[in-house]
Amino acid sequence: MDFATLLQLLDSTVRLATPLLLACLAGLFSERAGIFDIGLEGKILASAFFSAAVAYVSGSVWIGLLAGIGSSVALSGIHGLASITFRGNQLISGVAINFLASGLTVVISQTWFGQGGRTPALQGAARFENIHLPFADALMPVPVVGPLYEQIISGHSILVYVALLTVPFSWWLLFRTRFGLRLRAVGENPAAVDTAGISVVGMRFAAVGICGILCGIAGAYLSTGLSAQFVKEMSAGRGFIALAALIFAKWRPWHALYACLLFGFLDAVGNRFQNVELLGITIPVQFMQALPYILVVVILAGLVGRAIPPRAGGEPYVKER
């Protein structure tokens, strides 16, 4: 493998890790507050569709992004209603949201565009253009550093940088602010938070709302940044991989970044090398495609050591009377 191939690989690693990272941080907020969210996948899918559809109709990717975030937050609201207000089963609610998104996106896109569950291809201002960071061209002649900067750091859409900046921001919000302390406490011991006079329901809805916003950005990036249209089922399990990355990262923002980069890298390898020869045996393309999913299972099997979820995760909070 030469340097140019490596650069390409790392470049697409960053691109493919971005939606995972946003979804992973989305799950982080939700699960830290004690709400399990299997429905990340559905929210990504819904946002991918609505951002692409609205961007196509309005011609502005920013309006599309808002629509995507709106749809994702609406699904979050359903999840909150089911799992916080009515204390239902959070897994079942998440599964329902995934199916809801999977069905509605195709039904609505068929009605609006009649292209069998796609949106028309997006052009110009209807999609996120790649940004060239300053000095990218100037640094290009510098060996190693120049191409690294030009290809991997520079030249992505703005949402990639948003995702990367969300990592330190999440860390700061969760571990350095009063809001973050309360949010984490709600996920560990809601009764204690309640005793302190803070609304458990309010904190959890706030967390679920943040989760919706981040999933919305992830979905918008899929359809308007990474590719230029919505295609049926385009989330392709990313919501679930993000959940696995979250467990791998043991519910910590910086580790989430590393975990998502790893999964992004695997995805990039699977895309780049369709037929790999290893020790004279040709590894089939289907294996390479299944590799991220297999790795999720391997990681969950505990090659990472013990991952302890937030203690009140998945449990509805019932106020004592």
């Binding site: 599964v95 199916f99 809801l100 297999i294 505990g302």
Partner: protein
């Protein structure tokens, strides 16, 4: 605080939930710009109005009984198996191997072999997630979903590279030998108006049998008792000497096996070859069916019939109303899961209040005021 009687819990609440789900679905149809009542009429007529439609409805229902029972058994142990899709898909391989490579003398013997092999293959695909849950605590929801994706890749590989008929472009196995043909409703119930082209076949009775077997297992055997005890409280079950690893493994194997039996109906009974993506979401429908049927075999059968109607009716609907895409069924399925599963309390709490108020007013009128 009083409680509602059992019949309200088993019948009334699921019924109200399903009606709510259908109302919201109707709203979606309305927003698309079609008439929901007309859509409903087309669906019901398409599903039940002819022997042709009924054959498909019952054929789909057979699939959903198998996958629904699979999910239901797991729910009794509080395991949420969403891998029915992958388990049924891999089980198709078992059915294909049984039909293709053994020269059976008669279809009855072949059927027994296919039931066993597809069950085993389905169970095998559930075994790894089950073991990981039992031994390593890996979340079974995520691992079973991953196994759905892995199954899809594996089956594409096998169908394209191993089982494809040489010279054929289609990623599917060869057509099974004619001796393995299962009698379909046109052959054993032609007097009811079924044609010989109907997909409904004897597997329907196997599904009913499986439902009965699940009832016996859960409520009439020691293992079933242990499964339910484990589902209610793991700590109590361990205290009572129940081995959690064994229960998780056995329950998941049964669950995967039941989903796998779907191959009997769809692969051996209908297609008579294993095709790419033959499950077509039936594994996921099983989740809705099990939740709606309250994990009881009779409930599962009734819910499976409803979803069979939705699937067949939905196919007719997308034919007659092109604006309504076939995925509308997935939306309805999602809403049924949402209302019967996740929003259960939303329906239950007001109904409990109404029931208690009703009872209070009745007892008050019966007892004369002092």
């Amino acid at each position: 605080m009083g409680r509602m009687p059992n019949w309200a819990d088993v019948i009334l609440i699921p019924l109200v939930s399903v009606i709510l789900a259908l109302l919201v679905s109707g709203l979606v149809v309305l927003l698309i710009g079609e008439n929901p009542l007309e859509a409903m009429t087309i669906m019901v007529r398409g599903a039940l109005g002819s022997a042709y439609g009924l054959g498909y409805t019952l054929f789909y229902a057979t699939n959903f009984i198998f996958t629904g029972l699979g999910v239901a058994v797991a729910i009794h142990a509080r395991l949420f198996n969403i891998g029915g899709e992958g388990q049924a898909y891999v089980a198709g391989l078992g059915a294909a191997v049984a039909c293709l490579f053994v020269p059976w003398p008669h279809w009855t013997i072949a059927l027994v072999a296919v039931v066993i092999l597809s069950g085993l293959f389905g169970a095998a695909w559930a075994a790894i997630p089950a073991w990981l849950q039992a031994k390593r605590g890996s979340h079974i929801v995520i691992t079973t979903i991953m196994f759905n994706f892995i199954a899809a890749s594996l089956m594409v590989y096998l169908l394209v590279n191993v089982f494809r008929v040489p010279g054929s472009m289609e990623p599917a196995t060869a057509i099974f030998p004619s001796v393995t043909h299962l009698p379909n409703a046109g052959e054993f119930a032609g007097f009811l108006g079924f044609r010989t082209s109907t997909p409904l076949n004897v597997s329907f009775f196997i599904a009913l049998l499986a439902a009965f077997a699940v009832w016996v297992l859960i409520w009439r055997t020691r293992l079933g008792y242990e499964i339910r005890a484990f589902g209610h409280s793991e700590t109590a079950a361990v205290y009572a000497g129940i081995n959690p690893t064994r229960i998780i493994m056995v329950t998941m194997l049964i669950s995967g096996g039941l989903s796998g039996l779907m191959a009997t109906n769809a692969v051996m009974g209908e297609a008579e070859q294993l095709r790419l993506d033959y499950v077509q979401g039936a594994g996921f429908v099983g989740i809705a069916v099990a939740l709606m049927g309250r994990s009881h075999p009779i409930g599962v059968i009734l819910a499976a019939l409803l979803f069979g109607m939705l699937y067949q009716g939905g196919a007719e609907l997308s034919f007659e109303m092109p604006a309504v895409s076939r995925e509308m069924v997935v939306v309805i399925q999602a809403l049924v899961i949402l209302f019967t599963g996740a929003l259960d309390n939303m329906v239950r709490m007001p109904m409990e209040r109404i029931y208690l108020a009703f009872r209070r007013s009745r007892t008050a009128s019966h007892q004369p005021a002092e």
